[in-house]
Symmetry: C2
Subunit: 225 residues, 2 copies
DNA sequence: ACCGATGCATTGCAGTCGTATTGGAAAGAG
DNA sequence: CTCTTTCCAATACGACTGCAATGCATCGGT
């Protein structure tokens, strides 16, 4: 076997470029040549690593979900062992929201993919079970244990993400709404409003080295066709 | 003045075709020729009624929001005068959710536009005030009157819409989650779960849609990039 | 040392895109 | 009837698209 390039590293490099293009110009501006230019490579190379455009899109899509998953992992990890359920939920959700400019950019890509897959039903098929899983996980953290409430909480997160991206809500507004909702679910007094550490965005690995993706939606979104 | 065609009717006809194309193939499949074919007219005619593609998109975008607005009006109208706040909110929100196949189709278009405008910030600018207005209206219906809760409820609606479109939630699930949330907000027992006929759903995605888009058309200049 | 697989750049091709232009049919106004 | 304005079809054009094909340099295995 000749040469010695890390195949997967190249693919990630290209996928990163794709997300950069998609974030600032939309998915429809994503073409082989555009992505290649953004990545600083030749169009031929892109073709070499992705035999078809769909394959490239598919890879980028899964990269998006992987990245957001990693963000949640980091944020939760910073919480320490056995955090109280409410803090755990708040941390996870906050980690998934596009709260700052960088995350907003990433969220735009996720939103674009969301619309993209809405037309290709096969794409999001395998994501349903993971959503359902997440709902059950949330339900287990709730005092009531009610699935219906968990379903609503997840939807609330998604909606906050959408409005944050649209610019209708400010970051603080969104977090206020989230806390108000958690107040209802936990039948609780306001939590300690000061302590918001525990979820520093972009600490550690994640997006430090590469500009790219994270998402306002739920973890896991994979396409395949 | 020769001929006598209803200018606006033609434009609506074309916009309808556009929405049909966008619903089943995505916004990126929307081209002058495609839309023309879907509308059963010549491409030249489309060009005659919309001098530029952006103008056509802009018109279609406002058509989407108009339609969902009308649905809410119809649904609320069917409630009679002075409905209890909870019923009013539930009706309005349910009217905005893509609960059946037809509404799902429309919702897909709205979602596509949402992603579309995310890249063109000027487009959604004038929608912020209307969202804020809606939030205040919701708050007025709530027992607590809390803005933060209203903010959350609106977000919950949007999220339910997204998940319904994605297929992660079923219609019944979404309505259950909505009712559960209303239970929390109204501190109430379950409402009468039976009465759901009387009105048809058919809606676009939440208030994501908004009138008009980016550049105001000046007579002679056309900008393109 | 040679061979053959791999990495990658270049080019060509058929197709679609948005838009400008042109020309003719239709129809109220004089 | 003859204008004159509107409606709309047809075509041309340049830019762009995804993809296949080609060619060459570079290396590892033998």
């Amino acid at each position: 076997m000749p040469k010695k390039v890390d195949h997967d590293e190249r693919r990630r490099l290209i996928a990163d470029a794709l997300m950069r293009v998609a974030a600032e110009q939309g998915l429809e501006a994503v073409s082989l040549r555009h992505v290649a230019a953004a990545a600083g490579v030749s169009a031929g190379m892109v073709q070499h690593y992705f035999r078809t455009k769909d394959e490239m899109m598919s890879f980028a899509l899964s990269a998006v979900s992987e990245r957001s998953e990693a963000r949640v992992r980091v944020a939760v990890g910073a919480l320490g062992a056995d955090p109280p359920p409410r803090a755990l939920l708040r941390t996870m959700i906050a980690a998934l929201l596009p709260l700052d400019d960088a995350a907003r950019e990433d969220g735009r890509v996720a939103l674009a993919f969301l619309a993209y897959t809405a037309v290709r039903p096969a794409a999001s098929a395998e994501l349903h079970p993971s959503t359902a899983e997440f709902v059950h996980f949330i339900a287990r953290q709730l005092p009531s244990g009610e699935i219906r409430q968990a379903t609503g909480l997840l939807a609330l997160m998604e909606g906050l993400g959408v409005y944050l991206l649209g610019g209708q809500y400010e970051a603080e507004q969104a977090l206020d709404a989230l806390d108000a909702h958690l107040d209802l679910l936990f039948g609780a007094p306001a939590p300690d409003r000061t302590a918001k550490p525990g979820w520093e965005f972009r600490t550690g690995l994640a997006s430090s080295n590469t500009p790219s993706i994270e998402l306002a939606d739920e973890p896991d979104r994979v396409e395949r066709r």
